[in-house]
């Protein structure tokens, strides 16, 4: 059970595990400091504005949970703390800016994401053919709408031709950014907009750690559970391991014919999918199927994820601190020049790009398009029939 007073009175035993505290050398980012700020604000000893600033310094990576003897769920109590700060009118500048963009455009980037996806996708991609919805998340729609659309032919080549993109005139967010900044009322409105739509699906899949956790834990925490099967993209693709192996083999042949070497792939285990959602293993199975061998992890030890600094939209709320955290993360593992670093969470792509010399950074969507896309555009399809009897099927 979470009790922030336990963190407030703890002598920062998890300090060394906090990627923000490590990357920014900021003692205020530790769970201890955040819990103390919350308690002080509640007691009237600290203005809520100052407390809100301290409470905003977490990425929700849960790295502090492992060394914590008291098993505190820091992200959950921080959502509650930020919501209390919000109701007291205290919103940090970065969160306020993100919120304003959300109100203007329906996403935290302030961009027209619906048009950008429609420009790249075919009409068929948006047609509802089955009850499997691929929900890219607004970050993917902002950073790589072409690759999101490029994944659809790969689904079809694998035999997963019942997957569709959100067929909406306005592509909304899952509401995760509002949850991250403590706007509970706004999060409820986003849920109201999405709940019926999601419950019409049998399976709901996403490459976004932020949306995965918002729908998996955030919706139920407000009494709005989703009855559709909620999966990370990697979990869904594991159903198609044999088909991935077929296409992966064809991809090797295609690259060899074009004089290209096979890439060396390293996995960046993102916190949002691994530690937070507990679903970080599936990507290894997917990549092993597509590549023929299991890739190594960027993390120094198995199961230990490295926070890229972008969780809970920290990169939009506090860009400078997020950049310092990403620098720290990039120094924690090894990805040789020329290799492909594949992140489990789409949220980490932007944070890691440019920080590892000579390394191509992809999320799972980008990897699949880069690796299998060229062979799929030649008309290749998996020779193994798609599995039947899946809940995922129409």
């Amino acid at each position: 059970m979470t009790d922030p007073s336990l963190c407030a009175l703890c002598p920062r035993l998890c300090r060394y595990a906090c990627p923000v505290a490590q990357g920014t050398a900021d003692e205020g980012a530790t769970p201890t400091s955040m819990a103390q700020a919350w308690r002080a604000a509640k007691a009237g000893d600290l203005p809520w504005k100052a407390a809100a600033d301290v409470l905003s310094r977490c990425t929700g990576c849960m790295a502090c949970k492992a060394p914590c003897e008291l098993e505190q769920d820091v992200p959950s109590y921080l959502y509650e703390a930020r919501a209390e700060a919000w109701t007291n009118g205290a919103v940090p500048d970065g969160a306020a800016l993100m919120h304003r963009r959300y109100l203007d455009s329906g996403n935290p980037f302030g961009a027209d994401l619906t048009s950008s996806l429609r420009e790249h996708g075919d009409d068929d991609d948006f047609e509802r053919k089955g009850r499997v919805l691929f929900w890219p998340g607004c970050r993917s729609l902002h950073e790589q709408p072409d690759l999101v659309a490029g994944l659809m032919p790969i689904f079809r080549a694998l035999g997963a031709d019942h997957v569709s993109l959100p067929a909406r005139k306005e592509t909304p967010c899952c509401g995760a950014p509002l949850r991250a900044i403590g706007d509970d009322a706004g999060f409820q409105v986003a849920i109201a907009a999405n709940q019926q739509y999601f419950n019409r699906q049998r399976t709901w899949i996403t490459p976004s750690g932020e949306c995965l956790n918002a729908v998996r834990e955030g919706y139920p925490s407000t009494g709005n559970a989703i009855t559709a099967e909620v999966l990370h993209l990697s979990e869904f693709l594991l159903f198609f391991a044999e088909q991935l192996a077929d296409l992966g083999h064809a991809a090797y042949v295609h690259r060899a014919e074009n004089g290209l070497p096979a890439p060396q792939v390293v996995v960046f285990d993102s916190c949002g999918v691994g530690r937070r959602a507990g679903r970080g293993d599936a990507i290894y199975g997917v990549l092993e199927a597509a590549l023929g061998s299991a890739p190594p992890s960027f993390a120094p030890s198995p199961g230990r994820t490295v926070c890229c600094g972008a969780g809970d939209f920290h990169d939009l709320r506090r860009p400078d601190a997020a950049a310092q955290t990403a620098d720290w993360a990039a120094a924690q593992g090894v990805a040789p020049p020329g290799s492909w670093l594949v992140t489990t969470d789409a949220g980490c792509m932007g944070s890691l790009r440019g920080r590892l010399p000579g390394v191509e950074v992809y999320d799972l969507v980008g990897f699949l398009v880069a690796w299998l896309g060229p062979v799929v555009t030649t008309g290749a399809k998996a020779s193994t029939p798609a599995p039947s009897g899946l809940k995922a099927n129409g």
Binding site: Y102, L103, G106, N107, E127, R128, A167, R168, K169, E170, T171, P172, C173, G175, L178, A185, G186, Q188, V189, A190, A192, A193, N194, Q195, Q196, Y197, N199, R200, P220, G223, N224, A225, I226, T227
Partner: protein, 142 residues
């Protein structure tokens, strides 16, 4: 000299009053839950959609779509999704519902129970209905 009521008597009366309030609240919640469950299961068994929609009305109804004009003071709509389609069904005027192309649905949710009704958009007749206890397995017919 009048006799003072005993503290134990006060406690018992207080507890009884609290229990009575709780029971009334519990019964009213249970009634709306069971009404939704009964109506939804009737739909699954082939009851008339219009009658059920009129019976259930707007209590617990969630359109899941974006109403063009929100009443003043209503929560803002940062990403309401598709614009609502509206229909007049019996006494329900301009009843909003969600359509995605030809796929349309109505959704009710009261406490932990929900009913999802899929419609034939052209005929506005029932295609399927599912009664769901949220967080548990959905039960329904296609």
């Amino acid at each position: 000299m009048s006799k003072q009521p005993s503290p134990a008597f006060g406690i018992v009366v207080g507890l009884a009053a609290a229990f009575a309030v709780w029971a009334v609240l519990w019964l009213s919640t249970a009634r709306t839950d069971s009404q939704l469950e009964r109506a939804c299961k009737a739909l699954i068994e082939g009851a008339d959609l219009e009658e059920i929609v009129v019976e259930l009305g707007r209590e617990g109804y969630r359109p899941g779509c974006s109403l063009e004009s929100s009443p003043e003071g209503a929560p803002r709509d940062p990403g309401g999704g598709l614009p609502c389609t509206t229909v007049t069904v019996g006494s329900l005027v301009d009843f909003p519902y969600l359509c995605e192309g030809a796929d349309c649905s109505l959704y009710w949710r009261i406490n932990d129970v929900a009913c999802l009704v899929e419609l034939d958009a052209a005929a506005l007749t029932l295609e399927s209905a599912a009664f769901m206890t949220l967080g548990a397995r959905a039960a329904g017919v296609e």
